[in-house]
Every structure is written in C-alpha cells, then in structure tokens.
Amino acid sequence: MSLPAAAQAPRGRRLATITAVRELGVYRVITVDDKDAPAPAPGQFAMLAAAERWGGGEDERPFLARAFSVARHERGASQFLLEDVGPGTARLCELDVGERLWLAGPFGRPFTAPEGRRRAILAGGGVGIAPLAILQDALEAGGVETVVLLGFRDGARVPGAELLRGAQLASDDGSAGHHGFVTELLERELARDGEAAVYACGPAGMLEAIRALCERTAVPAQLALESGMACGFGACYGCVVPTRDGGYLRVCVEGPVIDAALLERVEEHAGAHA
C-alpha cells in the first residue's frame, strides 16, 4: 500500500468554523469544517489562529499562527488535538462550536508507508499522538498491521489515548499502563519482532530515545518533528533543526515527518509537549 501524497494548500489562509469540541483529559479536540481544501495526508499540519482576538494574551501575544498536526480527517472536517501551554493554545482552547479560526495548510511532508511487509509501530506521547491517529486510520484502511504505543506524563493526559485505537499505554507516574517510558514498550515490541517500521511523534527526549533505539536496532523510523514556526510554508527559515551533514532542515517543508537517519540527534525544541 501507499499512503496519500502531500496535499497542496489553498493559497491563502481561510476562515473555518468549529463544528465540534471534545475534551480528553487536559486535551481539547476541535473539529473544523474545511470542505473546500484538499484532504491532508497523515503527518501534515495546519497553521491556526483564532479569527477574533488573536493577541491580547500574556505579553500581548499571540501574534503568529500556531502549528497543529491534523489528528484526523473525516468528511471534509479536520480534527486537531490541543493542549494549553501558552497564549496561543490558550486562546484556541477557549473557542467553542460555531466560533471561527484562520486556517492555512495543509503543509509539510507526510508519513510514507512501511516498506515491504513490515508492520507499523506507532509510538508517541503527549500532543505528539495527534499525527499518529490519522496515520493509524490510513494504515489500517490500507490493511497494514499497526501497533500503537503511547506515553503520557500523568493521569490527566492519559485520556488522550482515546484518539487512537488499541493503544498500549505507558505513563510517567504509573497512572495507566506501563509505569515508565514508551521507549521501554517499543524496545520490548522490537525485540519480539524487528520486522517493523517505527512512526514516532512526541517530546524531544522521547523522540531522541526512539531515534537512538531504532538506529541501534537498524529499524527504519520516521519522526514527526516540532519546532517553533512563524510561517509553516518555508518562507521564514525559522523552524530549522540541525542535520547529520552539518546543515539545517526546515521542519515545515522538509518535515515535519523526516527519516530518522537524517538526524545526528533530536534536539530540545524539536519535540512536542509531553
């Protein structure tokens, strides 16, 4: 099978209406009507800003739009998983059904299907689980066997796991599933059967541990990175992370999904919130 190719974005930002809101522990899942845009591919993201009163929060921010992975796409509506970690996410988390936001995208390089007959292991944590949900949908629709391993900081975040199906859980505080790191689940899973492709998204520390583990065990891994972004479409050169060859790559256009082999290591600030 193959996963959908990157969708190209409409040329401007557009107003989109929130049609549903759901709370999963501390997370908020919003569904945004976006019928006129092409369907995003798993791993792509959008730049979001509230249509009204974007600004005027802490330190007179936010100003720039914020990047969010598309967590799911059904019948012309995209879902996004939000965690309030600052003035931008705080404002977005205030929005309710019927309110509107500015949306640009979908942007970025998506995940690609596992080569050959490898099964897909989806490993993620925190808000990093978002792109894994739409990935799971697409892989399973294509008949690929998936294993889902999710880690959360605490019990208030564990409900996020409902976004995916059949997840094995780990939690830092032992409130659900394995008491420890999701990498420990992954190590066990790879030991059981190494014929796998790993898809990971999560905090920098988790991604780095996954990258190192996959390097050591010679398992192909695709990482969905994060990074502070101003534009999302390659214009500002602000979102770079250092690559193995000594250069930088723009997470928004050369990522967010990259082959783990491109990186020497996953730097702090290239990861999602835990």
């Binding site: 040329r11 640009a104 101003a230 534009c231 602000g238 770079v240 930088y248 256009v253």
Partner: protein, 295 residues
C-alpha cells in the same frame, strides 16, 4: 493600477520583503498554480551572498508583542547555485488576477549582501549578467551580520560603496537601508549620491529576547536578532516619511504592513512601492489581498 518603478512596469505596488517569501518552497506548498497567481508584483529574493551560508543555529524565532524577532543569519545557497538552480524556477511568474489589476509578469529583484564593496561589486556584476534578474537590492542593513550594519548606518561609507558598485550594472540598484542608524534620511541621501536608483526601508530593528526558562541567556541562536511586524510600523512610517521627503529617487516602504490601509499610509508617506514581510507568515495570500484592497 499598474505602476512604473525604476523602468519596470509592475501590476500593482505590492511586493514582498526580502527573506519573507520563498517562492520555491511556496510552489511546493501551494502548487504550481501559484506561478500564475503570484501575490506580489515583483519577487524579491532572500539575501544571496557570494558563498553559501548555513545560517544561524536555532532557535531562530521569538514572538514578541505584536511582532517577532528573527535571527535567521542569511542562510542561502551562495551566488553560483542561486543562479544555476533557483533563478530558472522563479522567473516568469504572473500576478494573481484576484489582485484586481491586469496580470503582468513578475520581475525578479535579487537581494545581495557582501561584507566589502568588492564583494558587493562581484555580486552585482554576476546579477547584471543574468537576464532573469530585473533589479538588484543591496542589503546593507541586515542586523544579524555585523558587516551589513556598518556600511548601512554611515552615510559617507554608503556613498563610497555605492560609487564602487554602481558602475558594474545599468540595472536598477535598490539600497535597503538599516533602521538602526541615527539619521536614516542622511543614509538615504548617501545612497542616492552614490548612484542608487531607489532605497527600500525599513529592515528589522535590532532586538533581543531572553530564554523563557532556565538560567538567563539570550534565547536566539544568533544572539540578537531583528524585530519586525506591526510593533515597528510606527517607526517604519516615520523613517519612510523622512526619507521620502529627503531623496528624489523612489522609495520602497515596508515595516509592519498588514492591510491595504497600512499600505496606503506608506504610499501617502511618499513610498512608490510597499513591501510586505512578516504578514506573509500569517497569511500567505496577503500580497494579493492588499493589492486588491488598494484598487
């Protein structure tokens, strides 16, 4: 609504600020159709240097109150690869019909930076040889690279550099001024005296941010950076007003423009063209939106 600028006919007065719209990346993100619906009437490239530059280590961005600081550090492929690889891809665009102006071809304005007059002359000469380069913008103002600052803030030095560069091309030379100077109109007059065909301003204001957590340290990988966006619009308006009142050559005004109203104000202040920078990041189609709003 078409305008004449240094001998170029442009569909409308809205162009992009250097380094705030990467047409090649945008073609990838928005599709090839962008080439037939380009948001700007001229396309200004990111700053090109003689040799390739990787740019500054991250973090490169910091959001501020109604603005942002960047410390990108002028990453670019270098002159040779820019000419060989990029120029062919960015030539021949046409303006977006939705701008409300008769679509026209989008000329390429190549922005270059060198740390000496010789380097600048070499860059200008190379651009002169490229048919696809319609005009050259000299970045003597980038606050992220020490050398850029010094040339640009000193009127006499600026005149000297221009005089050295001017003979290398008959193409329009636009000098991008630094706002981090005591007397920006004097700098503009220096550029004019040296033979510039136009000046553009403002570049970003030197600015810094501290890390939000941990022991105090400068947040940006490059140390300091440049402030842009609505926060600086009042500074841009003052400088554009003062410069336009001082020089005879045309002025490209920019700094914090988000709407047709803001663009109109810079035109009223004496600018011939208006460039949009940071707002592109918030709305990739803002160029067309503003041009349409002006018509």
């Amino acid at each position: 609504m078409s305008v004449e600028f240094c001998g170029l006919r442009l569909a409308h007065p809205i162009i992009n600020g250097s380094g705030t719209f990467d047409a090649i990346a945008a073609l990838q993100a928005f599709g090839e159709g962008l080439g037939e619906a380009f948001p700007f009437s001229a396309y200004v490239s990111k700053t090109i240097t003689l040799r390739p530059r990787a740019g500054n280590p991250p973090p490169r961005l910091w959001e501020t109150s109604a603005g942002m600081i960047n410390s990108i550090g002028l990453p670019n492929k270098g002159l040779e690869r820019y000419i060989a690889e990029d120029l062919p891809l960015i030539a021949g665009f046409r303006t977006d019909p939705a701008a409300g102006a008769e679509p026209l071809e989008v000329p390429v304005l190549t922005n270059v930076m060198g740390s000496t007059a010789d380097e600048l002359a070499e860059l200008v000469e190379a651009c002169d040889a490229q048919e696809r380069v319609a005009a050259i913008e000299l970045n003597v103002s980038c606050p992220n690279v020490a050398t850029g600052l010094d040339i640009g803030a000193d009127p006499a030095e600026l005149e000297r550099v221009l005089a050295a560069v001017r003979p290398r091309t008959p193409k329009p030379l636009i000098v991008k001024l630094t706002p981090n100077a005591a007397d920006v109109p004097a700098c503009a007059l220096g550029a004019e005296a040296g033979g510039a065909d136009a000046v553009s301003l403002v570049n970003t204001l030197r600015a810094a941010a501290l890390a939000p957590e941990g022991p105090p340290r400068l947040w940006l990988g490059g140390g300091t950076g440049g402030l842009s966006g609505p926060a600086i619009r009042p500074v841009a308006l003052a400088q554009v007003t003062a410069v336009a009142a001082s020089v005879e050559i045309p002025v490209v005004g920019m700094g914090g423009v988000q709407s047709a109203v803001h663009a109109r104000q810079l035109l009223d202040a004496g600018a011939s063209l208006v460039a949009v920078g940071t707002e592109n990041f918030r709305d990739p189609a803002v160029g067309t939106r503003i041009a349409a709003g002006l018509s």
